[in-house]
């Protein structure tokens, strides 16, 4: 009935050779480097146009980004079944989609990749716009004049003037700025103020780059010119050096999206940052040969971001299996430590462990208080979740005001893991006592940290993400570890008295 051991070994061997075969295929045929090597940072950006077609011909025009200071356009392509696609390379780069007849919701995708290259200085594209003379209404005039006078005094050139104005506009306690912002948007106010000072400036739309964000909109940015150079300013955020974090979607003023024959159109952006070897052939190939290649790079960006973490999970599971089978660590819940490790990956280790310890300890105390109410399990877990959210909010506020804002961004995912951990620990406390809670809690934490340390390695992330065949090797290793029948490390300690007794007997006899 049960398969013999040799079957297991053959299965494992088969899995390993399949995995290595696929890996060498990726390496030799697709020229994916085996080692991360020198890294170049890329931003993958995906624009999704959504519209409601009316059953007649549809034409969609989307403004396209191009190479700009700090960013080099690498590749771009579209996904839009049935549509004719036309790239128009004029002063305003744009993409034209057209179809004779379409009905219902339409999704059109445009994906592009930019290489981050801070050293490259491209000449400013396009001419500086003409400075228009401004007319202000009534009270706005004095407010604008005052703002401008102060900023003018403490600035040396166009850029420092723009910087100074930006800071004033984003200062909520500035009354003059408040007056202007009642009537105008931040970017409009900034452009009009700069024009008033004879500085050429205009509003362009761009993306604020944040790794793994989905469903983003373009933001208005103010482009300020000084001779041949230009810089970007965001009147809402007022960051000191914003240029690296913003990608301009257009190089000249104009509409981003034009739709004919459709309603309720909108465009949303997803983005993902990646570190890749400088040789860089990975991407170009991944797109053409997606199915055979089994490359995650061929998925939509939003899904790639999910998979980047997901592909690490099997390795975390292997660490848990190994620690349980070889060492005999007791953990609360078999794979809870992997989930905790994932939470650490999101928060980074030290803040993660600190948050974990504080919140679990406080949660356990709260849970004891809840126990007096005699609730059923589901209601109790729900109540604990509410308390954990409150605790996390409290911690974030306290740490923010104490000036340790970094790493305190606890997202939804770790929160539910924490709530479950607290619930399991408190059940354990009731059933087995405090000692068992510490044993299993420490076991879970050690396992989670071990899993984190393995999953956090740069080359581990690189390999598992770029060589999916390695998943088979991980699985084979799990199979082999799972068939180990020898002693666990902690059993060597546990059963020591059995051996010690024998020695004592021998000594007594001798």
């Amino acid at each position: 009935m049960k398969a013999p051991r040799s079957t297991l070994l053959w299965t494992a061997l088969l899995l390993i050779s399949l995995g290595l075969l696929h890996t060498s295929w990726r390496h030799l045929v697709h020229e994916v480097p085996l080692l991360p090597g020198s890294q170049v940072e890329y931003w993958d950006i995906e624009a999704r146009v959504e519209l409601q077609a009316q059953g007649e011909e549809v034409e969609v025009i989307l403004a396209l980004p191009q190479s700009q200071p700090g960013f080099l356009l690498q590749s771009e392509h579209t996904a839009s079944p049935g549509y004719g696609v036309n790239f128009v390379e004029e002063e305003f780069r744009r993409l034209e989609w057209s179809i004779r007849e379409a009905e219902g919701v339409q999704w059109l995708y445009y994906r592009t990749q930019f290489q981050v290259d801070p050293k490259r200085h491209l000449p400013a594209v396009g001419q500086p716009p003409d400075v228009r003379s401004q007319s202000w209404e009534g009270p706005l005039e004095t407010a604008a004049a005052q703002l401008l006078r102060r900023s003018w005094q403490e600035s040396a050139n166009n850029f420092s003037l723009a910087q100074s104005l930006t800071r004033r506009l984003s200062d909520a306690s500035n009354e003059n700025a408040g007056l202007l912002l009642n009537e105008l948007s931040g970017s409009e106010a900034l452009v009009r103020l700069l024009n008033e000072a004879e500085v050429p400036a205009r509003i362009l739309y761009g993306l604020r780059l944040e790794d793994g964000r989905r469903n983003q909109r373009l933001q208005p940015l103010v482009q300020v010119f000084q001779d041949e150079e230009w810089r970007l300013y965001d009147p809402v955020q007022a960051l000191e050096e914003p240029a690296q974090n913003y990608l301009l979607w257009q190089q000249a003023a104009g509409p981003i999206l034009e739709v004919m024959g459709g309603q309720d159109s909108q465009v949303r952006f997803s983005m993902l940052s990646s570190q890749e070897p400088a040789s860089g052939s990975v991407h170009a190939l991944a797109i053409g040969d997606a199915l055979l290649n089994l490359s995650i790079h061929s998925l939509p960006l939003a899904e790639q971001a999910v998979f980047r973490t997901l592909m690490l999970l099997p390795l975390g599971a292997l660490v848990v299996v190994a620690l349980r089978v070889f060492v005999g660590l007791k953990t609360s819940g078999t794979f809870m430590p992997v989930l905790i490790a994932l939470a650490f990956l999101e928060m980074s280790l030290l803040p993660g462990v600190t948050t974990f310890l504080i919140i679990v300890a406080a949660g356990l105390i709260l849970r004891q208080l809840l126990a007096y109410l005699n609730l059923l399990l589901v209601a109790r877990v729900a109540a604990v979740i509410v308390c954990v959210i409150g605790l996390i909010a409290l911690m974030s506020v306290v740490s923010f005001h104490a000036g340790i804002s970094e790493g305190m961004q606890v997202t939804l995912f770790p929160m539910i893991i924490l709530a479950w951990t607290i619930e399991r620990m408190s059940i354990l406390w009731e059933e087995e006592g405090a000692k068992e809670v510490f044993v299993q809690g420490a076991g879970s934490l050690i396992t989670a940290i071990a899993a984190f340390l393995v999953m956090d390695q740069l080359w581990v992330r690189y390999w598992l993400f770029n060589f999916p065949g390695l998943q088979l090797v991980v699985m084979a290793m799990i199979l082999i570890v799972g068939s180990y029948t020898g002693y666990r490390l902690l059993e060597l300690w546990r059963f020591k008295p059995l051996v010690a007794q024998e020695k004592q007997d021998q000594n007594n006899a001798g």
């Binding site: 059933e431 029948t485 060597l492 300690w493 059963f495 008295p497 059995l498 007594n508």
Partner: protein, 340 residues
């Protein structure tokens, strides 16, 4: 460095020579091979075990009532003999959670094992919580079992603190392989749970006498609360205990089984519950590894042609196979005694 390491840790070779069964090997070779998953509910649900035991005419504490719904809780005493004590247990509880022992009932009030009197309302609330799943794993709705009280055999009076001592016998392919008695202590809060601090006393299969004892996995010679020397322990009617445990194999079909029994002053050996994943501490309690015994039993049952041996023969075989250790372990016990 190495010396201090070997002070705390045994080497794998030493353990193998001693025949210690490890957790990994237990899971793969014993549970994985002889305990089919589908049979687990028979032992994980105490009510099923109990009903099955009655079918097979194995002695268990008398089942007085089963409460399945909240409505039955309102008039629970309808099912109970007046004045007498009883024990309430959740069918799917674990680790002794939710067990309430009532020694005596008088005038609508109930006396707990600790001597404290509680109201009828308290009992109703306990039953209601139990049925709605407060004590069952995962919070699933449960069933309350009410059984008659066990009267601890008077010979064990000095060996235990508060609780009734129980006897764990590991039954391998129907043959008793190893046995221990679990004595509750003050540290274990009156519970016979080894990792909470109860004492495990290894019992010789041939005679029912103590061979060795441990508390918290480390050797002890006297009961810490009563001062009773543990090597004087002897279980009466030992053979019927082994028989009862051995017949649990016929009843469940589980090849690697832990049978928990008690010795009742009036009824003799009773089956308390069964365990499909019995732990390995029994090796420490006996000071002997389990692996060589399992191998001996494998060889023994290979020689049996035709149908399996009946339980009487299996017990006789096990007593004969494992009696040789009697002399050596007895001496060992004395020595530990003298040293102290």
């Amino acid at each position: 460095m190495l010396a201090s390491l070997s002070k705390w840790f045994a080497s794998p070779g030493e353990l193998r020579r001693k025949g210690v069964l490890g957790m990994n090997e237990r899971n793969l070779s014993c549970i994985g091979q002889y305990n089919p998953r589908r049979l687990f509910p028979l032992v994980d649900d105490k009510l099923q075990t109990k009903l099955l035991a009655e079918d097979y005419q194995l002695a268990t504490p008398k089942l007085l009532a089963v409460l399945r719904s909240q409505i039955e809780v309102k008039n629970f005493e309808r099912y109970l003999p007046s004045g007498k004590g009883f024990a309430i247990k959740p069918a799917k509880g674990s680790g002794g959670k939710g067990i309430l022992v009532i020694q005596e009932a008088r005038d609508g009030r109930y006396r707990k094992a600790s001597g404290k009197w509680v109201s009828r309302q308290h009992l109703e609330r306990h039953l209601s919580n139990l049925i709605s799943g407060l004590y069952s794993l995962g919070g699933n709705p449960d069933v309350a079992i009410i059984e008659s009280l066990i009267e601890s055999d008077p010979t064990f009076e000095n060996y235990t603190f508060e609780g009734v001592p129980d006897i764990r016998i590991v039954v391998y392919r129907g043959y008793p392989a190893m046995a221990m008695m679990r004595l509750s202590t003050h540290a274990s809060d009156g519970k016979a749970n080894l990792h909470q601090g109860a004492i495990g006393v290894g019992i010789d299969l041939a005679t029912g006498k103590a061979t060795n004892a441990v508390q918290f996995d480390r050797p002890v010679s006297f009961h810490p609360d009563t001062g009773q020397a543990l090597n004087e322990l002897e279980i009466g009617d030992w053979r019927s205990m082994l028989l009862l445990a051995s017949r649990c194999y016929d009843m469940t079909g589980l090849g690697y089984l832990g049978a928990d029994l008690v010795l009742d002053a009036n009824q003799g050996a009773l089956l308390l519950e069964l365990n499909a994943r019995p732990g390995l501490a029994i090796q420490l309690a006996n000071g002997v590894g389990l692996a060589p015994r399992l191998k001996q039993l494998d060889l023994w049952s290979q020689r049996i042609k035709g149908p399996e041996q009946p339980s009487e023969d299996r017990v006789a075989a096990a007593q004969q196979l494992f009696s040789t250790e009697l002399a050596s372990t007895d001496i060992c016990m004395d020595k530990v005694h003298h040293v102290e």
